[in-house]
């Protein structure tokens, strides 16, 4: 009998129990931050709030938000709440946005994080009999470490592949009968493409994939699923909070369950900071309840998202978050229109093109221009220029309809757009706006 939950007592706990954990955890976490980090203490003092003001969940609104700017200002030790002698690990973000984050972990923090990743694996159908190929990058990036740890906890055979060496990845899948693949969605798409090209689908035994750390669309999910013959699950997380496993999809695939025994999730109006009710779109904010070394109190993720407390038929009671609709970091304002790269991806896949693309934004004579490099695919190719151009024109029309602005499309060679095996570099913004 397949095990449906990793921690049934936690994952299916009644709401009153979850609220109790959250109230206790909040009090504890605020005290930890205030007493052990000068930065947190100053921030709360300036905001006129003391740990004694925080008696439970209902007091959370009294606390100030923590932003990426705070993390940068406090870099590297300002938010650290344990002596380094008690810390056993750091992980770090890629720093692609120019703001590297270093997060510290005690052994307790690592255990809690790996526990969350094990829940994600079980939610995707994982058991100790599975062969889990972890093709997220290892090293500072949390992807490899998190799923590696979760897979160990679950007792699955873990293949610590890291990313890259695609041929070798496929070889291991074949030779060891990998059943669960964990990697970024862009790398999964790349693997799927390669498997299809080489006609190897029948030689692999994948049943599930856990793909996160990047925005990806439903279309991309279906594309990966059909090419690799698996069910693709989303996973969400931030290095600031722990890494992947903050939330994860269950078999219902209708939002990701947030580990509410570990984190409080709020949705706020990004402009006013006002907390929004369930179902309203806003910025996702997290508070850690159980972290020792690097607690996060009302951390603004920049992810635009919706929460739902509706009952999930999988039996889990923890709140679900929708796939983030965009990051304010990723969101481009072009000619005054909000453009999310994920929208472009959706249009490309719907029109038969590869989901690998690059947006190039320029400002010419005080007007923004958007160019999109799109990789040619076999399906869209023809021996006549007129047919290729007609399809290209249809794509430009679809992009205009979806984005609301004109984008100039450039067809480029297949696989010519750099796929970093960690995160794809989707946007080149050449405007000097600041």
């Amino acid at each position: 009998m397949e095990k449906r939950y990793y921690r049934e007592d936690i994952e299916c706990a009644p709401r009153e129990q979850i609220s109790k954990w959250q109230s206790e955890g909040l009090v504890k976490s605020v005290r930890n931050a205030y007493e052990n980090s000068a930065y947190y203490r100053r921030k709360m003092d300036e905001h006129g709030v003391k740990p004694s003001d925080i008696k439970g969940l209902e007091d959370i609104h009294k606390l100030p938000f923590v932003s990426k700017d705070d993390l940068r200002e406090a870099y590297p030790y300002g938010l650290l709440c344990r002596p380094l002698s008690e810390c056993v690990r750091i992980q770090s973000t890629s720093g692609t946005t120019g703001r590297r984050v270093i997060a510290f972990y005690t052994q307790h923090d690592i255990d809690a994080w790996e526990d969350c990743c094990a829940r994600a694996l079980v939610a995707a159908g994982g058991t100790r009999d599975d062969v889990v190929q972890v093709s997220y990058g290892y090293g500072l990036f949390t992807g490899g470490a998190g799923l590696n740890g979760g897979s160990h906890k679950l007792g699955s055979l873990t293949l610590p592949m890291s990313s890259g060496s695609t041929e070798r990845q496929i070889q291991f899948m074949q030779d060891l009968g990998t059943t669960i693949l964990c990697c970024t969605p862009s790398y999964a798409a790349y693997l799927a493409e390669t498997v299809t090209e080489k006609g190897l689908k029948d030689t692999i035994k994948l049943k599930a994939g856990i793909f996160g750390a990047e925005a990806w669309s439903e279309e991309m999910r279906h594309d990966i699923e059909s090419k690799l013959g698996l069910k693709a699950y989303d996973i969400y997380g931030l290095t600031e909070l722990e890494g992947p496993g903050v939330s994860y999809e269950c078999s219902e695939q209708h939002g990701m369950h947030i580990c509410e025994d570990q984190f409080i999730a709020e949705i706020i109006n990004p402009n006013t900071g006002e907390v929004l009710p369930d179902g309203e779109k806003g910025e996702l904010v997290f508070t850690s309840l159980n972290k020792e070394a690097f607690p996060m109190i009302r951390y603004r993720t920049r992810d635009i998202c919706v929460l739902s407390h509706e009952k999930c038929s999988c039996g889990r009671t923890h709140v679900r978050m929708a796939k983030p609709m965009g990051r304010s970091d990723d969101m481009l304002i072009i000619k005054g229109v909000n453009v999310f790269p994920s929208q472009v991806e959706t249009v490309l896949i719907n029109n038969g093109y590869s989901p690998n693309y690059q947006l190039i934004v320029n400002r010419v004579n005080n007007t923004d221009t958007l160019d999109i490099n799109v990789e040619m695919t076999q399906d869209m190719f023809s021996d006549t220029i007129s047919e290729i151009s007609a399809r290209e024109k249809a794509l430009v029309g679809a992009l205009k309809g979806f984005l609301g602005i004109y984008a100039k499309v450039h067809l480029v060679s297949p696989k010519s757009i750099e796929r970093s095996e960690g995160k794809a570099k989707r946007v080149i913004d050449n405007r000097k706006l600041y």
């Binding site: 090209e197 040619m376 695919t377 076999q378 190719f381 023809s382 021996d383 006549t384 220029i385 290729i388 151009s389 450039h410 067809l411 480029v412 060679s413 297949p414 696989k415 010519s416």
Partner: protein, 151 residues
Amino acid sequence: MKGEKTMTVKQISVFLENRPGKLAEFVEILRAGGIDMRALSLAEAADFGVVRTIVSDPDKAQRVLAEAGFISAVTPVLAVAVSDEPGALYEILELLHKADINLEYTYAFTTRKEQGAYMVFRVADSCMEKTAALLEEKGIGVVAQEDIYSL
């Protein structure tokens, strides 16, 4: 059925980005595969071009191109012998005109061994048989796939 020979020739068309070195990269792949070109033409748009070529071994060409990451397609085209005298091409084109056959594109090639001039005609798939039959009927030489190598 009369002629067992297929009267069309397999043309390989390939997507090339419009950048320095791309054509060279393409022909180098054919060279490395020991593939000889009989004819080549390049149509260009702003950002990309489509190379059309007739080669000694189209199946192998498609395979080596795919391995090198190129996107290609095989299209049946007609390779038509044109005698080397003024007005010869006109006569052929008028024949097609009168039969209301439209050329999607065309290009020329010559051969040394047979001292011949040839035109490649691409017509709509639905017109292919009709066109081949018409040319044959009028005594205009259409090169079969298996003969293209020995020209």
